[in-house]
């Protein structure tokens, strides 16, 4: 599959970005249409610890309990659509554990679709266990063969009926870890924006081919291992291990990386935990899954309302299966995202989606730097500079980071965005450092390799064809 970089925006202006509609809708599963005029709740779950020790217990947990509970609750409450996301536990890299789960969920979805007309389907998110120190490419990891297992998982998922194949890939993670803990934005740019994009392109070219062979829809990816680490370490109002202005810039850079899956032919929707979704949707026009206020079972972020502004699927991130007063945990959290999706769909039907979008957006616009740059008008601006530099992985990542920094500085100067002294100092430092970088990619890469080869633990150029 050829890689086609995005050099133009799918949308002409930010105001066209709305919830439930994408320029390029996707159809799969049993009657599911994503980005086709309505928002679909996407429920994600984790099995109880211990169930992964036995294939039959794991199948029963995922299929007979979790899937059935969710589909039953959809009928009980009257939700017309649901997507199930199974994020594979690491042990599912063995076919004996994963194949019965994938096939069983598919069979259960078909049954409910035929019996009740419920539109449903599954996203199978395979584990990326590759480790930079052992090697990211097949043939390099003699200890675990994780790169080989990665592609085997793609085969298992697709051959057993996955409707959507997705992953949270880890390319560039060794740099992200270093950059976040040491406050080094240039390391993040090189590791995630450049190296991570090379890795994502490498894996997704093959993932798209595997999907095509099996009539599975290639969904998308996320920079969970980088920008989310940064965001969660930045934490809440008083948890400031990492400055939130730093975290916001890492988010913008991560968008340039997340885009790579779609440039390789993945169709969307992308992954819920990719908070960079509004940026990549603005560029590519493919449906995006987001998570926020209804994922408190897993994450507490500072843009719980805002991030719903232009989503096509609305997720709970993940919840461990267990009983609650209102049913099982998956039923309770499915109720939470299902009702929120119903509100969004009501707004769409009453032609008030732009009003609801703006209400969501304003509710968090000033809550923190990351929310500020993800507000759809700013997300569009960041998308624009990525597309303007679309053919160069380094330049577009740098442009995204710089644009995010400029948006925040402008917001601060106009007194629209409040910043602590430390957040401002960090932001000014980031702006200075990114502005000083060369415009010549080869020159930058040559410099970065020298700068980081002995500094960033586990950096191996062979992982990235360098």
């Amino acid at each position: 599959m050829a890689v086609t970089r995005y050099t133009k925006m799918a949308y002409d202006n930010a105001d066209d970005l709305v919830m439930g509609s994408a320029k390029h809708p996707v159809t799969y599963g049993f009657g599911l249409k994503l980005g086709a005029g309505y928002v679909v709740p996407e429920i994600n779950y984790a099995p109880r610890p211990g169930t992964e020790k036995d294939p039959e217990r794991l199948r029963k947990e995922y299929v007979d309990y979790i899937t059935k509970d969710v589909l039953d609750r959809a009928i009980t409450v009257g939700f017309p659509n649901v997507q199930l996301e199974t994020e594979w536990v690491s042990q599912m890299n063995q076919a004996k554990l994963s194949a019965p789960v994938v096939a069983g969920q598919e069979e259960m979805c078909e049954k409910y679709h035929e019996e009740y007309g419920l539109n449903c389907g599954t996203r199978q998110t395979i584990p990326d266990q590759r480790e930079a120190d052992h090697g990211l490419r097949p043939g390099m990891d003699s200890a675990h063969a994780y790169p080989e297992k990665f592609f085997e998982c793609c085969d298992i998922a697709c051959e057993n009926g996955a409707d959507n194949l997705s992953v949270e890939s880890v390319g560039g993670k060794e740099f992200a870890d270093y950059a976040v803990t040491n406050g080094d934005i240039v390391a993040f740019l090189f590791g995630v924006g450049y190296l991570g994009s090379i890795d994502m392109t490498y894996i997704w070219e093959q993932m798209v081919d595997i999907c095509k062979k099996n009539h599975t829809t290639p969904g998308g990816d996320t920079n969970c291992s980088g920008a989310n680490v940064s965001m969660f370490m930045a934490g809440g109002m008083l948890d400031q291990d990492v400055q939130r202005t730093f975290s916001a810039v890492t988010r913008a850079i991560s968008a340039a990386r997340t885009l790579c899956a779609w440039e390789c032919g993945a169709l969307g929707p992308d992954k819920d935990c990719g908070y960079e979704g509004p940026i990549v949707k603005a560029i590519a026009g493919k449906p995006t899954t987001q998570e926020g206020k209804n994922c408190q079972c897993a994450h507490c972020d500072l843009q719980g309302n805002l991030i719903a502004q232009c989503c096509d699927l609305w997720s709970n991130e993940s919840v461990e299966y267990h009983p609650e007063f209102g049913g099982t945990s998956v039923q309770c959290w499915f109720g939470s995202i299902g009702y929120e999706s119903a509100l969004m769909n009501t707004a769409i039907q009453l032609k008030q989606e732009k009003v609801l979008r703006d209400l969501y957006m304003y509710a968090d616009r000033y809550r923190g730097p990351e929310a500020y740059i993800l507000a759809y008008d700013h997300a569009f601006e960041i998308g624009q500079v990525i597309a303007d530099n679309g053919n160069d992985l380094y330049l577009r990542s740098k442009a995204a980071g710089l644009k995010a920094a400029e948006i925040m500085l402008k917001g601060y100067e106009s007194k629209e965005l409040g910043l602590t002294t430390k957040q401002l100092e960090t932001l000014q430092d980031i702006h200075k450092k990114l502005s000083a970088l060369p415009d010549d990619t080869d020159k930058f890469v040559e410099w970065a390799i020298k700068e980081y080869k002995d500094t960033v633990p586990n950096f191996n150029m062979k992982n990235y064809d360098l």
Binding site: A46, P49, G50, E52, Q129, E131, V170, M233, Y366
Partner: protein, 260 residues
Amino acid sequence: MLSKEGADFTKVLKRYDIEQQVSLTPEEMAEKMLPTDEVFKKVAEEVLHMKFKTVGPTVMEALKVRDPLDIINNGLVAGMECVAKLYAEHVYFLPEIMMAAKTMEIGIAIAEKQVPGGRESKGTVIMHAAEGDPHDIGKNIAAVMVRSSGYNVIDMGRDVPIVDFIAKVEETKPLFASGTALMTTTMSAFPAEAKILQEKGINIPLMGCGGAVNREYANSYDLGIYSEKAPQTPLIAEKIRQGYDWKRIREEWDSIVGGQ
């Protein structure tokens, strides 16, 4: 876009981070904590200001007039203690901790070469991320903090097989061991490890940490103790060094980590 004219967003949200920020500079806060002896103060300031390029020459200069162990304890470690205090007060943040620790370690490496018989650490600590778990950023941060507090840290990395962990404990006889897990399906390594250790008669505390682990889980198996955040680990380590066993750590956990 809807007009926001007339909207009062203080009715929507409150920026506690801006309201609560500390206005003192690191220099102002550290002034009262730095050593009074000019030689030690100069060494401590290298750590405080994260000058990893100049800490070497400064320590070399100090070695001409002061005992190497004193330079470590009253200069380098004292500087790091200032950094820890500034971190607790939200004046310094994680990147400063990492760079200050790196500076201190450079200085210690130079000074301890001149300590006859080598420098004695507070004890050995084994750290690892659970078998099957590739996430180790939290463990890495905790390792820096524990090492900075004077312990010899054996960092086994991530995705560490249970058998390797047990073998390392038997070989090095640590003060305690810690494990991190970000996945609920990997944290079950900790009770499995604890069981084997007990069968072998090794009753050291086994700290369970990481995003997937909570206090209830870490306290659900014998030997298990909990650390919620990296800065809590040195506080707990100090109590273990004083002779607390895993049961007493559990009983007094709230007061041990109080204020964190």
